[in-house]
């Protein structure tokens, strides 16, 4: 029998810094912008394994777009994306403040991750279906969903499109290609695969796109989704948003220490792209590649979007308790809004004045929507009729619900 030379020890992964430490990102190996090749959309996954471990970047530190992944977008598209990101951040700031003012129970910002949902929401059509988790508000905003309706949902007021039934930020917007959000993490990913399978079965041309956080990739649903997407070659884009933090657990706790999240696709025979999630152009290019692949019946792609959750997990969270306070400012991939702004300025298509103007405009737009929504009412001051509490449990109300509704007196 072989004996250990010393007792076994249990490894528990720890992040590179805790409160009081200096932020340390020296372990990250970041490829230079433009360094990686762009495979043909019909490339076999095994021909592109390096893309699962490296990092697709287009924008360099000076705001230049480089390399084969440069999607060469026209200035209007870039400006539209920048404005949608600015508006998303302004929306987040106001709603976060509204929570602090006691106007709602809960809010979640996507600070630092705006490029992801905005770019991807712009690429795909409203006919496609997005299966979001809770930091894709930029998708609705990029598609022009009314801000006032988002706020009404957050306030659970009388005009809440989903009738006061869901936690704030858990939107449903079928007409905007935005599936109903679940609080149970990961459940939407295999559903997205099923939705995509249905489109393929019907011979339609719609595809699905799903998002999951790095933490939730440890859920079985994620792995079930990869199996089904691979087996049935479903036309779906499966995004892992690696924002480094699942509440207080760093991405190593979800399995990000020994490999990348993108590489988890490899065992399933799916192509994997690991992308700078703070680079609007890289996110755009990777998503477009996956979209073309799905639309040409070649199946699913897994995209790891490498980013950093700048804000707390939610209004119920205080990140200074578990990570260095200034870690976000030191994130080596920068801020997605600042980087796209810099790029547009480098192109001669934008200026600091225009940026300031756009930011002021976004704040004004959010303020106007806020006034409109608050006039209807904030949480507890206004709500749908209590009668709606008993509706839509089933297609038709059964006797139990009728009796219980009467007991409430409505």
């Amino acid at each position: 029998m072989t004996r250990n030379t010393q007792p076994l020890s249990l490894r528990v992964p720890e992040p590179s810094g805790r409160p009081g430490d200096a932020p340390d990102f020296s372990h990250l190996k970041l490829d230079a912008a433009g360094a990686l090749d762009r495979p043909a959309i019909d490339a076999r996954p095994v021909q592109m394994l390096d893309l699962a471990f490296r990092l697709i970047r287009v924008l360099d530190d000076e705001g230049n777009a480089l390399g084969a992944w440069n999607p060469r977008l026209d200035a209007e598209t870039l400006k539209k994306g920048l404005k949608a990101m600015i508006l998303t951040r302004a929306f987040d700031d106001r709603m976060h403040r509204a929570h602090r003012q006691g106007k709602t129970s809960f809010y979640m910002k996507c600070t630092g991750e705006e490029a992801i949902a905005v770019a991807q929401g712009m690429i795909l059509s409203r006919e496609d279906m997005g299966f979001p988790t809770y930091r894709q508000q930029g998708l609705l905003i990029a598609r022009g969903y009314p801000l006032v309706d988002m706020m009404n949902q957050i306030y659970s007021n009388a005009s809440d499109p989903i009738k006061g039934r869901q936690l704030p930020i858990m939107y449903s917007a079928k007409d905007y290609g935005f599936f109903t959000i679940s609080g149970n993490l990961g459940t939407q990913v295999p559903q997205a695969v099923g939705w995509a399978m249905a489109s393929a079965y019907k011979g339609d041309d719609k595809i699905a796109i799903a998002w999951i956080g790095d933490g939730a990739t440890a859920e079985g649903d994620f792995h079930n989704a990869l199996t089904f997407a691979s087996v049935y070659r479903a036309p779906v884009i499966l995004n892992v948003v690696n924002n480094q933090w699942a509440i207080s657990s760093f991405q190593g706790i979800a399995g990000g220490m020994e490999t990348t999240f993108a590489s988890k696709a490899i065992g399933y025979g799916l192509p994997a792209l690991r992308v700078d999630g703070n680079d609007f152009l890289a996110v755009w290019a990777a998503t477009q590649w996956a979209e073309e692949r799905a639309r040409s019946n070649q199946g699913a792609t897994v995209i790891e979007l490498f980013t950093y959750r700048g804000a707390p997990h939610s209004t119920s969270d205080d990140p200074s308790r578990y990570r260095p306070g200034d870690e976000h400012e030191k994130w080596p991939l920068g801020d997605p809004i600042a980087r796209l702004k810099q790029h547009l300025i480098a192109l001669g298509e934008w200026s600091e004045e225009q940026q300031a103007e756009a930011e002021a405009e976004a704040v004004a737009q959010v303020r106007a929507a806020g006034k409109e929504s608050e006039a209807i009412g904030t949480l507890g001051q206004s709500r749908p009729s209590v009668k709606t509490m008993f509706e839509e449990v089933y297609a038709t109300e059964d006797w139990r619900l009728t009796e219980q509704r009467r007991e409430v007196g409505v």
Binding site: K174, Y201, R400
Partner: protein, 356 residues
Amino acid sequence: MVDQTEAPASVAAEGGVQPMNMIQALNSALHVKMAEDPNVLSFGEDAGYFGGVFRVTDQLQQKHGLTRSFDTPISECGLVAAAIGMGAYGLRPVVEIQFADYIYPAYDQIVSEAAKMRYRSGGQFTSPIVVRSPYGGGIFGGQTHSQSPESLFTHIAGLKVVIPSNPYDAKGLLTASIEDGDPVIFLEPKRLYNGPFDGWHQKPVSPWKAQPSAQVPTGKYTVPIGEAAVVREGSDVTILCYGTMVWVSLAGAEHAGVDAEVIDLRTLVPLDIATIEASVKKTGRCVIVHEAPKTSGYGAELSALVQERCFYHLEAPIGRVAGWDTPYPHAFEWEYFPGPERVAAALKAVMTGGAR
């Protein structure tokens, strides 16, 4: 024996009637619906080419095509989740969970997702799926092939729970379930698949074809969800039961020599409370029979409802006959499984004032 062939309102005029066992009746429902509606799909583990380990999906793939009836990975959670996505797209997926005991990996998707989709999205998204699964004991399946999980689903707002007890109902109820806009948990008593278990495990079982309910229309018809069947009229006591226990209850009433009114609930959610209430008010006594464990079983809910609505008509405490609160024991199946003797004892107890 009991005549269960009351004329249903929805029998299609075309096509004849054929003797079918429960497997054939369920299979016929799937063939008919898939032929009628291209949005109906059927899939599950071994449910494609092979037609399912119990053959309920037999020949669906051969007849309707590979993309309409197919095998899935061994991933109950994955296949139910895929069905939910398909349902949201507009399809009508019917999924098979090979044994109800394997439904637990899919429980979150059924309970947190399918059940709540219409409600949480304000009606924007729905989940019109059917989750079919053989359930219950009586075939020596041990702990993981014998359970009766119905009460875990009746507790969940948004789900419907349907359990047929004979071939005619099986086909009609499955057809209605596929056409229903809500997620349906469709539990098939596998002890009844091949014959009408009469409750006496040591006696030979007669084939389905000897039963009126085995005369099944080959065309389309539905048995409405939410309507119980009075399978035996009686005046002494009301027995509430479903699935395999319908047959055990009939045998138990005969054994006890009690004029029992036996009600096959057919659907647990929605529940036909009017039929239950009318019967108990008529007989003044009630015994509930199910094979799931007693504690927090569906009998507890039925008992509470009868007490709430019929208390002043009751002449004895409500009796419950159920599986024991143990895991399902392989070697003691007949001691675990409620049989006619236990039903008879409960009937005699309520007839004499409920002494236990």
